[in-house]
């Protein structure tokens, strides 16, 4: 497969590009920013062709998911549950988030030879829906503080956030967090937290004045999860399966939007295509792609192209198109996985009603600790945590036996995201003239000291209220390991080579728009997908307004 694909790249360089399509705007990719661009273009009355690699779940897992979705959790077949849990056998992407036990979100498409240094945690996603298949579903927007140095301000994303929440569910509640992060619209309703999740939030609230003085902001998680009655038909049934994928589809994935638009005939969708490069020709854009099924290279002409293939893929397409240098850099918002010992109320062993996504969001904004705000998404005890602990530490688990569950019930895990200025980065380099690509870490010498200061700050502030950070067990994800990265072709009011304008156009182009997080000037800590979608909406809407067709 790989050899064939390489051969095709060479062949394409010699071929006369046949025209296979024209008319609609091309959206490259089918992840969240692609869905947002497609929705915005359709809203402006434009025609849209979505071009995607489009890998999907293995048939046996999809069948199991469908059987589970057709009934209530107590009627699920043990074999289906076992097949779709993260511990399921047969998934090869150990260490990467899985969807219904599958590695589909990170599976190689066999076209591009990608060599990833062990010190890099990022992988491209070729799945329909991209990384939104496995996202944490957080819906906090960026503030002006986050956008320091960007050529746009937060209010310019406001319409985008609102538009996205027309088709993305919004679970949350009005609480103290609204002071810093005003609700974008009235939430669909609150999700039931785990007992420990509720207890942690109550404890934080009791100590709010002291925490606020130390630079902490917190509130209930706002999540792209459907809440409604009756469950499971209309909303979360609290089955505890969140981290493996929601069998009922109540956690939003961009695949849902793309599928819906395709089903309703609103977009044309062409999957099985790995886009290699884009170029401007005459009054349009030429998209060159490799068909996964083999055959000659595919070329598509379009008046405009919106690049939303996901940061790694988009960056590589731009490099292979000569719109980025052969060695480019992707900025990462690095993740620190920090376990906490929770000294407080917690749920009973076994299933308890409560979702198992992040329960609480905490933001530490204290310039003495870090120049930029740090976001913590806090996961409390759930069944999956015990399973994961067993998987990660088999010896310790064997030693503890049944007591393991007692220990994990007292654990919470914070996934802490740092601003890209305070994180390691990723270099992407074309090798052999673009035949293959190498990803390598670019270390930030200041990052470790920031991570340490942050953990000390948590110990001082959260330790005394019973949420004790277990610093020795903390694990720094390699760059890209938290899946919050971008900024390979940053937006600028004066774009030079390697940058794009505020409509995502790489310098010297007029009809190619980068709409995923590749065009972010930096990657703030915190949820990236929601802002990526809002920015994609902003660009697509502005372009459609300027160029009505």
């Amino acid at each position: 497969m790989r050899g064939r694909a390489q051969g095709q790249v060479k062949q394409r360089a010699r071929s006369e590009a046949p025209v296979s399509d024209s008319g609609p705007s091309v959206v490259i990719g089918a992840g969240p920013t692609a869905a947002a661009a497609a929705k915005a273009l359709l809203g402006a009355g434009q025609r849209v062709l979505v071009v995607d690699t489009g890998l999907s779940l293995e048939p046996e897992r999809e069948a199991a998911r469908q059987r589970m979705a057709a009934t209530t959790p107590e009627n699920w077949q043990p074999a289906d549950v076992s097949l779709t849990r993260f511990t399921a056998a047969g998934a090869s992407a150990r260490g990467y988030k899985r969807l219904f036990g599958s590695d589909v979100a990170f599976r190689d498409d066999g076209v591009l030879e990608l060599s990833v240094d062990p010190g890099v945690g990022a992988r491209p996603s070729y799945a329909l829906g991209g990384l939104s298949n496995v996202w944490g579903s957080g819906l906090l927007q960026y503030t002006d503080r986050d956008l320091d140095g960007w050529p746009i301000v937060a209010s310019e994303l406001a319409d985008g956030y609102r538009a996205v929440l027309d088709y993305v569910p919004y679970a949350g509640e009005e609480d103290e967090f609204a002071e810093r992060y005003p609700l974008v619209r009235v939430p669909d309703g609150p999700l039931i937290r785990t007992e420990a999740g509720q207890a942690v939030l109550s404890r934080l609230r009791r100590h709010r004045p002291a925490l606020a003085a130390a630079g902490y902001h917190f509130g209930a998680s706002r999540l792209a999860v459907r809440v409604g009655h009756p469950a499971p038909a209309n909303g979360c049934v609290y089955c505890g399966h969140c981290l493996d994928g929601c069998p009922y589809g109540h956690i939003y994935s961009a695949a849902q939007t793309i599928e819906e638009l395709r089903r309703e005939g609103l977009i044309e969708y062409r999957s099985g295509l790995h886009v290699d490069r884009v170029s401007e020709q005459d009054e349009g854009v030429l998209v060159e792609a490799t068909a996964l099924a083999g055959g000659p290279p595919v070329t598509i002409r379009s008046p405009r192209a919106f690049l939303a293939a996901g940061v790694i893929s988009t960056t590589i397409i731009l490099q292979r198109s000569g719109l980025l240098p052969e060695r480019a850099e992707i900025a990462d918002s690095q993740a620190l996985y920090l376990p906490f010992a929770w000294i407080g109320r917690t749920g009973e062993t076994g299933r308890e009603p409560g979702h198992t996504l992040a329960q609480t969001s905490i933001v530490l904004d204290d310039p003495a600790v870090c120049a930029n705000p740090i976001h913590i998404t806090l996961y409390t005890y759930n069944d999956g945590l015990t399973e994961r602990a067993r998987e990660a530490h088999p010896r310790l688990s064997g030693l503890l036996g049944p007591a393991l569950d007692t220990v994990t019930r007292r654990l919470a895990v914070g996934i802490c995201f740092f601003h890209s200025d305070d994180s390691d980065h990723i270099a992407t380099s074309l090798v052999d003239g673009g035949e293959s690509v190498r990803l390598e870490p670019v270390l930030n010498p200041a990052a470790r000291a920031t991570f340490r200061r942050f953990q000390h700050a948590l110990l001082r502030s959260l330790g005394p209220i019973g949420l004790l950070p277990l610093a020795p067990l903390a694990e720094i994800a390699p760059p890209g390991g938290g899946y919050h990265y971008g900024a390979s072709i940053p937006m600028s009011t004066r774009p030079g080579f390697g940058q794009c304008d505020t409509l995502g156009r790489p310098s010297a182009t007029r009809r190619i728009h980068v709409v995923d997080a590749s065009c972010f000037p930096s990657v703030p800590g915190g949820a990236i997908t929601f802002s990526g979608m809002a920015n994609s909406h902003r660009i697509a809407t502005a372009v459609a307004r300027e160029d009505p067709r």
Partner: protein, 282 residues
């Protein structure tokens, strides 16, 4: 010799002082010259030009703007009222360096922005140079920034239109003055309009947060609905009540220059810094 109009105002005053400190001979062109101004001549917008006003002057830095004008007077005083100076200078082979504003752009909704734009075109048509600064700040600043510093020195509570979320650009007065000095010395290329601000925009709220933070306070914003404020300001203006903030300023703030136009503006060799406490705290 360089003439500077508006030299009794914040921006004109800073430019004049910097020119003189840089060894450039500069004369204040002001309504009421006084000994404290140093070399000064009498000049007022919309008044006939004194024949001797421009004697020995090759360049006029035009920073005067009559903010007290209302309605049709805005154009009459600031655009038509500036033309005698522009024409007189042009006839003598001199040039005008106009301190305009990023509120001036095609499609601007404010009368202020439209007046500045019209005068910009006249200046550029006579080989002049146009600078477009954003919100000007610096030590002991006047204008909106000075008003914010003053308000936030008393309390960290600030009513802000729309929560202060509108996009704006900031310009450090020292760097603006330096750019003017470079231009009058011929060290920087004129023409324009030249974007004269920090490249990354900010918001009034962020500015207020920084000012409050520099004073060790946490800002509390009282968001004011823009439509309600516009109505209140218009009503006050119709009733003849003079307020420090005009409905026209609200239009400028609420409908800022497009980013495409910002991108298309020419750049000067001066890189303008972002707002930072050391640049406004004495």
């Amino acid at each position: 010799m360089i003439g500077v109009t508006g030299a009794n105002g914040y921006v004109g005053g800073r430019i004049l002082a910097h020119l003189r400190a840089s060894g450039i001979e500069a004369v204040a062109l002001v309504r009421r010259p006084s000994a404290a101004d140093g070399p000064a001549r009498r000049y007022a917008l919309a008044e006939p030009l004194e024949p001797s006003l421009l004697d020995g002057i090759q360049t006029v830095v035009h920073a005067a703007y009559d903010a007290s004008a209302r309605g049709p007077d805005i154009r009459a005083r600031n655009v038509t009222g500036s033309l005698p100076l522009l024409e007189g200078l042009h006839e003598r082979g001199g040039r005008m360096l106009m301190v305009s504003s990023l509120s001036a752009f095609a499609g601007a909704r404010s009368q202020y922005g439209r007046a500045k734009l019209e005068l910009e075109r006249a200046v550029l048509g006579r080989d002049g140079t146009v600078l477009r600064p954003g919100l000007v700040f610096g030590v002991g600043a006047g204008g909106l920034f000075g008003a914010m510093v003053s308000a936030l020195s008393r309390r960290a509570l600030l009513p802000m239109i729309g929560g202060g979320s509108q996009r704006l650009f900031v310009t450090h007065d020292g760097h603006l003055s330096e750019l003017v000095a470079d231009l009058v010395r011929g060290r920087a290329e004129g023409g324009g309009p030249l974007f004269a601000a920090h490249e990354a925009p900010t918001t009034l709220r962020s500015i207020a947060e920084q000012i409050a933070g520099a004073g060790g306070r946490r800002l509390v914003v009282i968001p004011l609905p823009p439509a309600l404020v516009a109505l209140g300001l218009r009503s006050a203006e119709i009733a003849g009540i003079r307020l420090p903030f005009r409905s026209d300023s609200l239009r400028s703030l609420s409908h800022p220059i497009g980013l495409d136009e910002v991108s298309s503006l020419a750049r000067s060799p001066i890189a303008f810094p972002a707002l930072a406490p050391e640049l406004w705290l004495s």
